[in-house]
């Protein structure tokens, strides 16, 4: 029960979580991650976030990621919904949900998926500011470093 969706449309964590529970017995724990477009209180606030992706490769990369997580922890079901297109500050960007019998596997698999999504899945963010400035978001060094904790 591994499911990936890349779309402009928003998602509901409740709906995603229900889907995680639907066809799977033995679920005792759900871990979710939701990424949000940060509102900034700066002089030049963010007006919009633009999310570009590589159709096809994105879905394959995410599916592969879920499979790697399910191979490493006793995952009963996992889902990713990642949005693309124009997003407003405060809007949801990504949902990652993992169902497992116990919480540690759910937390670890969810965190693992997010860490690799951040460094492997072909999405790119552009920030459009109130004054018209447009700027591609730079990759964060911390995102590369975060992978270290998953080295076996």
């Amino acid at each position: 029960m591994l499911s990936v969706r890349v779309a402009e449309q928003d998602f509901s964590a409740d709906v995603e979580n229900s889907a995680l529970l639907e066809c799977t017995e033995g679920v005792g724990a759900l871990a979710n991650f939701i990424g949000v477009v940060r509102q900034s209180g700066q002089a030049n606030p963010l007006k919009e976030m633009w999310l570009e992706h590589y159709p096809g490769m994105t879905e394959h990369t995410l599916q592969n990621l879920l499979e790697r997580a399910a191979g490493r922890w006793p995952v009963l079901a996992a889902r990713v919904h990642h949005r693309v297109g124009a997003l407003q500050p405060g809007e949801q960007i990504v949902y990652v949900g993992v169902a497992a019998a116990h919480r540690q596997a759910a937390f670890d698999a969810c965190s693992f998926i997010m860490d690799f999504l951040k460094t492997e899945a072909p999405f790119w963010k552009k920030e459009i500011f109130a004054d018209g400035l447009e700027q591609w978001v730079a990759a964060r060094d911390n995102d590369r470093k975060a992978l270290g904790k998953w080295a076996k």
């Binding site: 490769m57 997010m114 072909p122 591609w136 730079a138 990759a139």
Partner: protein, 89 residues
């Protein structure tokens, strides 16, 4: 016929710098078993100096949607993509 074409895609800042989302190249314009690095040289020849951005140290290349090194060789029918480090999530 279309199998002799190589489709090349550019994303994000590279798409903007090269002024196009994609281009096609007939495989006969490439040496046999051309590498990604050789493909980049041909693209620069065609498009002009703005395509030098493809030689950036952090530029990633995917062939048929798998990340590869610049030493990988390209075949007719391949889809090749160039993009900056990813920033989703």
């Amino acid at each position: 016929m279309s199998d002799s074409l190589i489709t090349i895609r550019f994303f994000a800042s590279l798409r903007e710098q090269l002024g196009r989302p994609a281009m096609e190249l007939a495989s006969e314009h490439l040496p046999d078993s051309a590498t990604v690095a050789e493909l980049i040289a041909v693209i620069v020849e065609r498009i002009g100096p703005q395509a030098d951005a493809l030689n950036g140290a952090d530029v990633q290349c995917a062939v048929n949607q798998q990340i590869v090194s610049h030493a990988e060789s390209i075949r007719a029918g391949d889809e090749v993509a160039f993009f900056p480090p990813v920033t989703g999530g």
